[in-house]
Amino acid sequence: MTVRRIEGELPVAFRYTPGVGNTAFFEALRDRGTFLGSRCADCGVTYLPARIFCERCLAGLVPDTECGPEGTVESWTVARQDVDGRPLDPPVTFALVRLDGADTVLLHRLLGTADIGGRVRAVLRPERTASILDLQGFEPV
């Protein structure tokens, strides 16, 4: 019996549109440097980035609630390897940050160090393209 290894690919790429809710979030970030969320008054929950529906009650929501730009570190970690296991030099710190006014958290880079519960502020890039990378990261206040 011959041992064979038959290779194949799945030759597809994806174009992800951010949808109605995230488009409103990204455009506000790009054009005004603000963080746009949406609030369900019935459930008392503010979602950031903005969503067009409340996941708890399926009410339609409007992206009209600004959050941040300061917030609180909910958790953090230091990545010392990239996805292929190669060393990252320097290491990169990531944090989950809850911006003031939001009930949900954002995953992004922590520029510096902060403990859980520590206060941070968003750092924006001057040239912005409607991307999560328009946000450079969060720096300690």
Binding site: T2, R5, E9, T17, P18, F53, L58
Partner: protein, 600 residues
């Protein structure tokens, strides 16, 4: 009676569009919200959520079930995603039915979503791995091959005219002109338009095929007692059935969907239907291709084998015909966001059986309908029988349906005042808008797979390298299996012996294909075919023909393998370069006689 009685109490859907700005979650929300609004219900009244979406590789989200859960109202609830390819939309209604019938939940929201526009360069790429990676992928297959090969076999078996089959595409696109959610409604389309459209993979032409689409559909199901509280006009799930044929698609009877008949008999049995042609008043058979509607109507026992096409051409299946089929406009007209399209058929029966289908309403007072979908590697049948009224229902009590709330957004087409008026969105993007939408992200699926052929196919490939065609045999059922298998899937026992067969065979069916999998034109057409090796049992395997003019190929033609030079063989299906006619100038009359072809 099977479990508790279950009814549909509400339905909603998005428009079907070519490119939606909305994410899959947002599409699922729009449909779910529309269904809840139509039934005047809140999410808090829903006990459980059943979701479906076809391959993850369409949306490019490789965890679509939980990804879509929030938009489907699944937060903090018993939630399940089911998946049987194209059969998924109807199957999720079956899943919803047994979640309620079993007593596990009183109210279930069933949601079907598909966003095919994410997949680049063409959603067909997501289908490439449905082919056998060892024996079929090396041939460079195209999804259209499967349909073209099946359609050709169906036409040849019953001596069908393409013109009669094209009547289905015309009917459905005309019906869809009255559907406010439709992508391809066209009131003035003619059979000649279909016959003049581009030949993609003969006999499949462009207008024989349903469009790539984005969209979502939702329905609400409830137990009998709850349904009667929620609405004066519940529509009952009278029967459900599903069945799966051989996973070796080239071994199946390509001219008749046996598995649809088995699924239909299961559903009819539960519904107490003994004479479907009298007891079914409206049908929504699955129609991704025009011939498939006909194939499925025969499998649903609504027409004799091979007789659905002439009935379609004669108007029997028109909206005002004796048996209205796809009054919605079906996949060919409304669109084909795969999983959502199946659930759209359930929603259509809900509206038809309540007399709420507006301009699409079939005449009379239809009391029973059947919806059906089909999928996986074209071998699963899913069937749901639905019934209006009954004791205490709309027609039994004479109660009028509760008026529906006004839509959250006006119907953009303004074509119909009747449901689905509560339809929402989505925002349809042009290709240019889609290319330039703010914040969009492009990501290749950067993976490579390596497959081991396993014992039986490994030995088969060793044989091909040596210029031999090897088979296994099952002493229990007496079949000789090519390609060989380590076990007989029918007798469910190990196969018994190996044998060698001559490298000659018969063309079971073929196509003349003019496009690549991503729909680019080919310079020279290619000739995919299902070849049955002489001495093997049922069906054959996929390969290509050459050394023959496309117009000279006939089903039933005797062929032989042309081997690659010994030094070039690697133990691959491509060690057979192609099959060619055994007689360079085939005697067409003999070939036709051998194939049982009807002489005109």
């Amino acid at each position: 009676m099977t479990g508790r009685r279950v009814a549909v109490v509400g339905a909603g859907m998005t428009r079907f569009v070519r490119r939606a700005q909305e994410t899959g979650k947002e599409l699922a929300f729009q449909a779910s919200r529309a269904a809840l609004d139509a039934a005047e219900m809140k999410l808090g009244q829903v006990d459980a959520v059943c979701l479906t979406s076809a391959p993850d590789a369409f949306d490019g989200v490789h965890r679509k079930g939980d990804y879509l859960a929030d938009g489907a109202g699944g937060w903090n609830k018993p939630f399940i995603r089911t998946y049987v390819g194209g059969g998924s939309g109807v199957f999720t209604a079956i899943q919803g039915w047994y979640t309620v019938a079993s007593g596990q939940a009183d109210v279930v929201l069933c949601v079907a979503e598909e966003k095919m526009s994410s997949c680049q360069p063409h959603p067909q790429g997501a289908f490439l791995t449905i082919f056998d990676n060892i024996l079929e992928r090396p041939l460079g297959p195209n999804l259209l091959w499967i349909f073209a090969l099946e359609m050709n076999r169906y036409m040849q078996r019953y001596g069908l005219e393409k013109r009669d089959i094209a009547a289905v595409a015309v009917k459905n696109k005309r019906n869809a002109a009255d559907h406010p959610a439709a992508l391809l409604g066209q009131a003035d389309i003619s059979v000649d338009d279909v016959l003049a459209s581009d030949v993609l993979a003969w006999p499949v032409q462009r207008l024989d095929v349903s469009p790539i689409s984005d969209g979502a559909v939702a329905i609400i199901m409830a137990s009998e007692e709850t349904a009667r509280r929620l609405t004066a006009a519940p529509v009952w799930i009278d029967g459900v059935g599903w069945n799966l044929d051989s996973t070796y698609w080239t071994n199946r009877d390509l001219s008749y969907p046996e598995y649809v008949e088995k699924a239909a008999r299961m559903a009819y049995g539960m519904a107490g239907i003994t004479e479907p042609r009298k007891q079914i008043h409206v049908a929504e058979p699955y129609d991704p291709f025009d011939y498939k509607e006909l194939h499925h109507l025969e499998g649903l026992l609504l027409f004799d084998k091979g007789k659905a096409p002439e009935a379609a051409a004669a108007g029997v299946t028109a909206r005002d015909g004796d048996l209205p089929c796809c009054p919605s406009g079906g996949l060919l007209g409304v669109g084909n966001p795969i999983a959502a399209a199946g659930l759209m058929k359930i929603a259509e029966l809900f509206w038809q059986l309540r007399g709420e289908a507006g301009a699409r309403q079939v005449p009379g007072t239809p009391e029973r309908g059947v919806a059906q979908a089909w999928g996986d590697l074209m071998q699963v049948g899913t069937v749901v029988v639905m019934g209006a009224g009954g004791a205490g229902g709309l027609r039994g009590s004479g109660l009028a349906a509760r008026p529906h709330p006004s839509p959250l957004r006006p119907d953009p087409s303004g074509q119909s005042a009747a449901p689905p008026t509560s339809m929402l969105g989505p925002t349809s993007l042009s290709d240019a808008q889609f290319r330039s939408v703010a914040g969009a992200v492009d990501t290749p699926l950067d993976v490579l797979y390596a497959w081991d052929p396993g014992d039986a196919i490994g030995a088969f490939l060793d044989g091909l390298r040596d210029g031999r065609i090897l088979a296994t045999t099952c002493a229990s059922c007496g079949r000789t299996l090519v390609p060989p298998r380590a076990f007989c899937e029918r007798c469910f026992r190990s196969t018994d012996a190996w044998m060698e067969l001559a490298a000659t065979g018969t063309v079971e069916t073929f196509s003349i294909c003019h496009v690549t999998w991503d729909m680019r034109p080919l310079d020279e057409p290619e000739l995919p075919a299902v070849i049955r090796i002489d001495g093997s049992s049922d069906g054959g395997f996929l390969h290509k023909l050459d050394e023959v003019a496309p117009d000279d190929v006939r089903i039933g033609m005797a062929v032989e393998a042309v081997w690659r030079p010994l030094d070039d063989r690697t133990g691959s299906i491509l060690d057979i370069a192609y099959f060619r006619p055994r007689d360079p100038a085939p005697d067409r009359e003999l070939v036709a006689a051998a194939a049982g072809e009807m002489t005109p």
